[in-house]
Point group: C2
Amino acid sequence: MMHVTIKDIAKEANVSYSTVSKALNNSPLVKEGTKQKILRVAENMGYEPNLAAKQLVRKKTEVIGLIWPTIERVVLATLVTNISKAFESSRYSMILSVDPIEMAMDTFKKFQVDGTIVFAESENRIPEDNIPLVAYGVSGKNEGTYPIIDANHEQAIQKAVHYLYDLGHRDIAYVGLLHTTDSLQNEKIEGYQKASRKLGLTEHSITTNGLDWFDGYLAVNDVLSLAKRPTAIIGGSYDISSGILRALHEKGISIPEEMSLISYDNIPQMATAETPLTCVGVPVDQLAEEIVNTIIQRIESDDTNVAKKLKPTLTERESTGTVPPQHRSN
Amino acid sequence: MMHVTIKDIAKEANVSYSTVSKALNNSPLVKEGTKQKILRVAENMGYEPNLAAKQLVRKKTEVIGLIWPTIERVVLATLVTNISKAFESSRYSMILSVDPIEMAMDTFKKFQVDGTIVFAESENRIPEDNIPLVAYGVSGKNEGTYPIIDANHEQAIQKAVHYLYDLGHRDIAYVGLLHTTDSLQNEKIEGYQKASRKLGLTEHSITTNGLDWFDGYLAVNDVLSLAKRPTAIIGGSYDISSGILRALHEKGISIPEEMSLISYDNIPQMATAETPLTCVGVPVDQLAEEIVNTIIQRIESDDTNVAKKLKPTLTERESTGTVPPQHRSN
DNA sequence: TAATAAAATAACAACGTTGTTATTTATATG
DNA sequence: CATATAAATAACAACGTTGTTATTTTATTA
């Protein structure tokens, strides 16, 4: 059985194919009665519109391309899922490429996607090919040809520090990747430092060797051998925090009675960790929502809006509590 | 500047647009001289062919859709990257959807992809929508409307056992997810059991609670408290093995002097683990190659080939060695 | 009830390609 | 050198839509 076209429907319904087209697009120019009849016939015949033809005349695809060159990072996987879900309630659908940016752009240009979302790692300018573009995750100075959506990492960690402070903690360690050129990591550290200074706390920052779980795992030894043993730890990412969590369990340190733990990254996985983790960061669903809205807005109103730093949220779970009595400062 | 079409080129080059079309498709029907001229003009004008138009008449897109509903699994991420790479040397390109199968199929049907690859988790039949389809990873009985590519998990683990046996090991533990309905896991266990029986070894299978790294980490305690302490461990997956590795390091058990470790999954990450891991499984690049070839072949010759179980390979690294002297059985 | 306005439908030209058929131009043949 | 043949190019109809313009049908008015 060949593909059925509007002309087939027209013949079957005894109308002209232009009327069919209008009916299928719910145009007010066709009488309700005929519209219903045509719709029914189309349904019966199993009509599927031909995107290529539509595209050829309308020059719109209602498809967004997402470029994700580094699929190995779990946090981003969650974001992708959320973005995909966010598109469901719009008239757009999403396709994905894991190729390097330039290549992916080429593919998407061929497909004539209406817009692209790029998960960018470096701060390098992305060559904009006059397809509306929105980037995620390249902080740094933005020269403003395309919007950049980013979480406010600094503020997130600050929030974490203040939250712990309010619970009575005075010795709070930060475990993450220090001494790096990765601006994302650096922003977090700055948040930690600023908040500590503001609250008059001594800083205990412990560097890891990488961003994997065992990097966090190993760092716990360093934390515990600090001159003044901290009562709370802030983990710089989901992976690092799960390593920390594992190590603490291992050493029989109870959470949150003896040690509070709070993690960067606000993703659902935090709730299903060994001990459900309190965390800070922009919730992924919110992030996804924002990215989707921005690209759609940019497509539909050609709005060259500027970078957006999203406000992080703190989600309280079982891994944090008030400071243990024996450590309470007078 | 508007999009340049073959008609624009035709005007510029003083030929008819049909000649331009032929020239651009390198048809033997146009004289070498004019062909060159046209190509030059096209280049100069920055011509980009319009896929929609081409597609409308040719009914081919030379694009393959990959459906990957469960992006959270790292091993699959590596496979995706490899598949994408494998397509580079063909005339096809690949797009990805992370939507549920039915939804993704719909999107791809709209795009009129020439074929789809599905990463299937369950053994449920995938509704084939007369777009050529190749599935990856649903073992089980295949009723044969589409090819299923799968690694021979059972044979892989058997290979691991035999390899360890040849190194002198007589007490080999298997750490993985037991007692499950997940047929992939079960195949591995069967491999372990069959090989053990064949070689007359006592079985030491330790079940984990899940497939995460800490599941492997935790299982090590069970391994070490077995009546007869094993001299080698087979980890059921990359994640599990990295947990095992971590735990062994932690406990100061040297690898491979005191304990050999071999992992299922043959991915590049194995080489960059704390201790480079010996592993078994079909190498991802090979798997990717096979998947790509199969779908292309199916598209181009409508070959309804049957399921393919790929032969696993053992890659030797630093985590395995001969059995320690004190454990040697006479 | 004819004239007129409004509503519904039909006709048709785009959109940018490919592939088939028709025409022109160059080359070989007797 | 006229003629048959081959090579090169041009013309044009698809492909399946949308949107604009032309036509028909129906409703409204004097």
